[in-house]
Symmetry: C2
Subunit: 360 residues, 2 copies
Amino acid sequence: METLTVELGERSYPIYIGQGLLDNGDLLTRHLGGTSVVVVTNETVGPLYLERVMAALGDRRKSAVTLPDGEAYKTLATVNDVFTALLERQVDRRATLIALGGGVVGDITGFAAACYQRGIAFIQVPTTLLAQVDSSVGGKTGVNHPLGKNMIGAFHQPRAVVIDTDTLLTLPERELAAGLAEVVKYGLIGDAPFFAWLEAHMPDLLKREPGALAHAIRRSCENKAAVVAADERESGQRALLNLGHTFGHAIETGVGYGDWLHGEAVACGMVMAARLSQQLGWLEADAVGRIRALLQQAGLPTEPPSELSPERFLELMAVDKKAIEGRLRLVLLNAIGEAVVTADFDPAVLRHVLAGEDTG
Amino acid sequence: METLTVELGERSYPIYIGQGLLDNGDLLTRHLGGTSVVVVTNETVGPLYLERVMAALGDRRKSAVTLPDGEAYKTLATVNDVFTALLERQVDRRATLIALGGGVVGDITGFAAACYQRGIAFIQVPTTLLAQVDSSVGGKTGVNHPLGKNMIGAFHQPRAVVIDTDTLLTLPERELAAGLAEVVKYGLIGDAPFFAWLEAHMPDLLKREPGALAHAIRRSCENKAAVVAADERESGQRALLNLGHTFGHAIETGVGYGDWLHGEAVACGMVMAARLSQQLGWLEADAVGRIRALLQQAGLPTEPPSELSPERFLELMAVDKKAIEGRLRLVLLNAIGEAVVTADFDPAVLRHVLAGEDTG
């Protein structure tokens, strides 16, 4: 087992990565606040792993809440269902929630923990690659609103993150790929050697070779933890983590939540950011090609849905929370491993890229 | 105008108290984050004061959201309505919300600010005595759940609190009294001289004599600010502020939200806490009499609703968030001006008091 620490002063917490950690009762119970614990999972992950986690929690007051599966349920209504379950069981403010599932379960559970009785403890047990390398690190929790993705939420740090790499063996291929999009993102933002490593080891990752997966998760978590530790509230550097996300959110919203996986939209968004960077003269054409090729190798889409017009795209990007007082800020690339947050680009060039006129 | 500061490190904020502050544009705009501002009010307060506040905000991007009036609307659904309004107007994360109204408007607006795009700025402009001395200080925000009061929420500090004492001239008598319950509470918790001052000046307060009101608000805010500054997260000393509240919440929940005003329930709850303290041998009978008399003079109820059986009372108190791992903690009194948080009492004596068997 490997352990790394997200340094956030009194809110610092450990990330454990290893095989078979779901059965590690000592690890799971080490960070519980009071004596009572509620595991929140969904109808897909629950049947696979809930029984083992409940067994590992041993002899204490414990129960489970099973949510429907899917981004479509990442709503305030689902969070309210969690509140109802907690109140029906008279769960008090010293209790701990455990999020057992992917990013949606983590976001909902974390937000429920942030707001239940004005904040209780929670532990992340992410079971998808995406959640392991993204949503479980950084304290972002929240839900969607019909008018915008992730528009309702809170910063709420977990007490610990427990990553059992064995859970990836049951992950559908498409979701593995979606997670790999975020893994690639860390290379693009600030870790060129990791990007090169991914180019060499993508076949191993797709074969779910345990050593390769563990390395990719660890490097991703380290990269993200470093950024988050430097900038907990996303005022500056943390915005780099949104590479591909402003384009990606527009795609997710434009086609309706659920049609595209988050990671798929981000993959496409990263290619669009790279194309825009190239058109601005900041990034070499060869780099754009390497980025597109690596994502395609991972089985990810690199072209936006044809039904989204440039005008609709721009409209959807403008409501994104990365827009500050009307000026659209994007994460763009100077090189592989060198991302930058900027509003200093010609909107005409953006429109050109959205219209696909750069690739003809 | 008087100014006091709630000391919370980088989250410190000022409380301004004075006449005519609603028209003070400099004061209202001094603490705005970006250029855009949304005033949240309700259908009762809006017609009285909204136009003046909008005028004072001058020439900037501004709009208003008007909520229905009443504790019954302090729900997640109403908060979601605020989110919808903000998203429809493409309000970004640099915007500031202004809560113009009583405690319900403040709680809803503060919670909406805490969760909108994971947290934006807000300013409290409380227009009821209760909100001025209670909900506007301390950063508690949130809403009710059908299964419990204030069970969903966040700690989110305002950037400033602007208290215009003139707003109390339009306050219904019953709401003035409800606010006085919280004022009396500060005397009981830790300020015996203030309690004695209130005994001498209750007639002036009921006549809404401006000087008396300003003094009462200021002393209340100072008392609360001192407690909150010492203990922002309510782990210890801050729990003293819940004097009368565990009984009071049970009353509010038991009879259905809205029948009793919060302050009325707290007044009754404080008398019950005093009676329990007396039965335990901690508080003199004379003190119980003074407390009951002062609250009755303010026009407040001091007897619980007869429809609440002792069993139902206990059941409702047990779900209250002040219950830690099953042990019920209450705020009780050793003397006027000397409150204590304790779980160290005989439940049989509590049952005796709930049954009204101490006053026969």
